[in-house]
């Protein structure tokens, strides 16, 4: 990967009213607010471990190794970072190949799916894709095309996972996707969505403004991606309604990077607010920007955004839960406070996504199936 133009290390800003989370060292390294040489050798080992847990090791490597300071780092650390970079490159490679294979399938069916999340970042050659790890391929198709597409995918070697009757019902009827599919040979995981967010969600949005701006992906012409503002808002809604946060910091960091890249376009900030208003996502926008600010520090371009409007007390409370739950250092220490925060966020996420009468039944079902598998 060729090194990009590296900005000088910025002086950290401490916006009024924001508390710095403990995991700030990792956040500040990633956003180049801290020089890698300012971190002690012992601390670096922890940082690297946190980054790995958050799937951010590739990005950390990319940010750190490109600088002039890199040569002065501990050689063993440099070696670990280079290996992490290599792993991220492997992810890029696999994602591109998977998109290549999927393009062949959709050429046959005649559809132009919209790529979402990581797949979109990769296919559209966005900055957020650099050093990124990928999990599933997410794509959005028209609901009436679903049976046709499902068949075509099965013929192409994608086998459905989670085939219990309950799971099928849960995913299809109440979520916004068919149960995940997995390629039998390549092992790649595929999520086919037919709505941007769940049908029953309490976050009631109007989809049309989000789908209006679709454009062809730069590196995968068989697919479309969402426009910049919708892409950002989609990522925000996802984080906002999430119930589990295994890579919470990473997802918030994605939002941070998308913001930085898109705000280079003239008037993006106003456009973002407009689309948010049209789609009914203003409160989501305001809160996720606040969370982003707490974790990664504010940058002056966003002072016009409604982020500095006071959050309501419940919203401030949720913001603190997010801060604790997403803190990578708390994760490393296995703090009980974090576990509690995550538990509450789990309930909140489900509450946001499902009406009450379904919620109790669903949570009971989840609890039953998790009882046997005592996990970390």
């Amino acid at each position: 990967m060729s090194p990009s133009i590296q900005p000088p290390f910025m002086a950290p800003e401490t916006p009024e009213g924001s508390r710095h989370a403990h995991g700030e060292t990792l956040a500040r390294l990633l956003t180049r607010q801290l020089s890698p040489l300012a971190v002690s050798a012992g601390h670096w080992a922890e940082i690297l471990a946190q980054a790995r847990a958050q799937q951010l090791a590739g990005r950390l490597a990319e940010v750190t190794l490109g600088t002039a300071e890199a040569a002065a780092l501990n050689p063993r650390l440099q070696s670990q970072l280079r290996s992490a970079e290599r792993i991220a490159n492997g992810h890029q490679h696999s994602m591109r190949w998977e998109l290549n294979r999927l393009a062949a399938v959709f050429c046959q069916t005649g559809d132009r799916p919209i790529l979402l999340k990581g797949a979109a970042y990769c296919a559209h050659r966005l900055d957020v894709a650099r050093g990124r790890h990928y999990g599933d391929v997410d794509l959005l198709v028209a609901e009436d095309r679903l049976p046709h597409i499902e068949t075509a995918l099965r013929f192409a070697g994608y086998a459905p996972q989670k085939t219990s009757a309950y799971d099928q019902h849960y995913y299809r009827t109440w979520m916004h996707e068919i149960p995940p599919m997995r390629h039998i040979k390549r092992g790649a995981s595929l999520d086919v969505h037919f709505r941007l967010i769940p049908r029953t969600s309490r976050v009631d949005i109007d989809h049309r403004p989000l789908l209006d701006e679709r454009l062809p992906a730069r590196d995968a012409p068989a697919f479309d991606v969402l426009g910049p503002a919708p892409m950002l808002l989609h990522s925000m809604v996802h984080l906002y309604t999430e119930s589990e946060f295994p890579q919470g910091l990473r997802n918030l960091f994605d939002i941070h990077l998308l913001l930085i890249e898109f705000e280079k376009e003239k008037d993006f900030i106003n456009h973002l607010s407009l689309v948010a208003r049209q789609a009914g996502l203003e409160t989501v926008l305001r809160q996720t920007l606040n969370w982003r600010q707490r974790m990664f520090g504010a940058l002056s371009a966003y002072s016009t955004l409604p982020t500095h409007l006071a959050l309501t007390r419940p919203q401030r409370w949720v913001a603190r839960l997010i801060e604790t739950g997403l803190d990578p250092e708390a994760a490393q220490r296995r703090s009980r406070r974090r576990q509690t925060a995550l538990g509450l966020l789990y309930l909140r996420g489900h509450w946001l996504r499902m009406p009450t009468r379904l919620l109790a039944g669903h949570l009971w079902h989840q609890a039953k199936s998790k009882w046997r598998v005592k996990e970390t």
Partner: protein, 314 residues
């Protein structure tokens, strides 16, 4: 070598450092920090790594391994051990008493997961000096059960040195293998077999009922020049296959086949792209490749020695 070794610490001091996760050793390719409170672990560690240098507990330790109790909150549940790797827990817990094998497996996992500057192969490696006194090596790739660990342990009785009983690390730039001398893991019947052959050698007490059967570790020869390990070039690629009662058979293997079989045993070739492929090709151009079926260790070792001696001058 001026650094103090583990031998300079008393068992009591070792246990104390392990309890507070402050014991750091130089175990190529890493300098892990180790923490464990299980009884018996300190003794096993002392026996196996007696001659390995200590390193300071400060500094950059890319690997920290902690064998911790799990399930202590649920007092009525079975207590188990969990392996913490740098604060994360990638594995399912294991029964108490398996702390030492867990440590060794954990270290291997850290190599295959975090070390990608080299191409890692699931293969044993033994070193020797060729006719011109240059460092050379035999790679012994194999699926589990092929007997490569036992063969490796026995090879040390002859004039072979230990590169690894499990992982060969090939440098794509230099084409050499990095020695990672560590205790050799022996399973089931091999334990008694090697004990009979090497009565003076130190071994950990066998641990039963692991996922790999009964496991014990054999102390490696003292690592000389650990700061400056000599990296040999592989000259022989031998695919061993232990079969009870089989007659010794050493068959040349076509290079193409050998290359594909070796690639099959690689953990991270796919991360090295074209460079990796070329490195593999260059490796194959420099090795002679064989299949070795055996049931008697000594005959197999005679065969390996013969192959090493027959090495045509380059």
């Amino acid at each position: 070598m001026t650094a103090p070794t583990l031998a300079s610490l008393s068992l009591k001091e070792i246990k104390s450092r392990l309890r507070s996760s402050r014991l750091a050793l130089d175990i190529p390719p890493y300098r892990p920090i180790i923490g464990c409170r299980e009884p018996g672990f300190a003794e096993a560690l002392q026996a196996m790594y007696y001659d390995y240098p200590l390193t300071g507990a400060q500094g950059f330790h890319e690997v920290s391994l902690e064998m911790m109790h799990w399930g202590s909150v649920w007092r009525f549940g079975r207590r188990q051990l969990k392996l913490g790797v740098n604060g994360n827990f990638p594995f399912n817990p294991l029964p108490l008493g398996q702390a030492y094998p867990m440590f060794e497996w954990g270290l291997n996992w850290c190599i295959t997961n975090y070390l990608h500057e080299r191409i890692t192969f699931h293969a044993a490696g033994i070193g020797y000096l060729d006719a011109e006194n240059r460092p050379a090596a035999i790679m012994l790739p194999g699926v589990p059960g092929a007997g490569k660990s036992t063969l490796t342990a026995a090879a040390l009785e002859r004039r072979f040195t230990l590169l690894s009983d499990e992982l060969c690390l090939l440098s794509p730039e230099l084409g050499t293998l990095l020695p990672i001398p560590r205790p050799i893991s022996l399973k089931d019947a091999s334990i008694e077999l090697i004990r009979a052959r090497q009565p003076g050698a130190r071994m950990t007490s066998p641990v039963r009922d692991t996922t790999k059967g009964t496991v014990a570790h054999l102390q490696p020869p003292p690592p000389t020049e650990i700061d400056n390990l000599v990296e040999p070039v592989a000259r022989l690629l031998v695919f061993p296959r232990y079969q009870r009662g089989a007659r010794l058979a050493c068959r040349p293997l076509p290079t193409g086949q050998a290359m594909l079989r070796l690639a099959d045993q690689s953990f991270n070739l796919h991360l090295h792209g074209e460079t990796g492929f070329i490195a593999l090709v260059r490796l194959m151009e420099g090795v002679r490749t064989f299949e070795l079926d055996y049931s008697d260790l000594d005959s197999a070792l005679d065969c390996l020695e013969r192959l090493a001696a027959e090495d045509p001058l380059q």
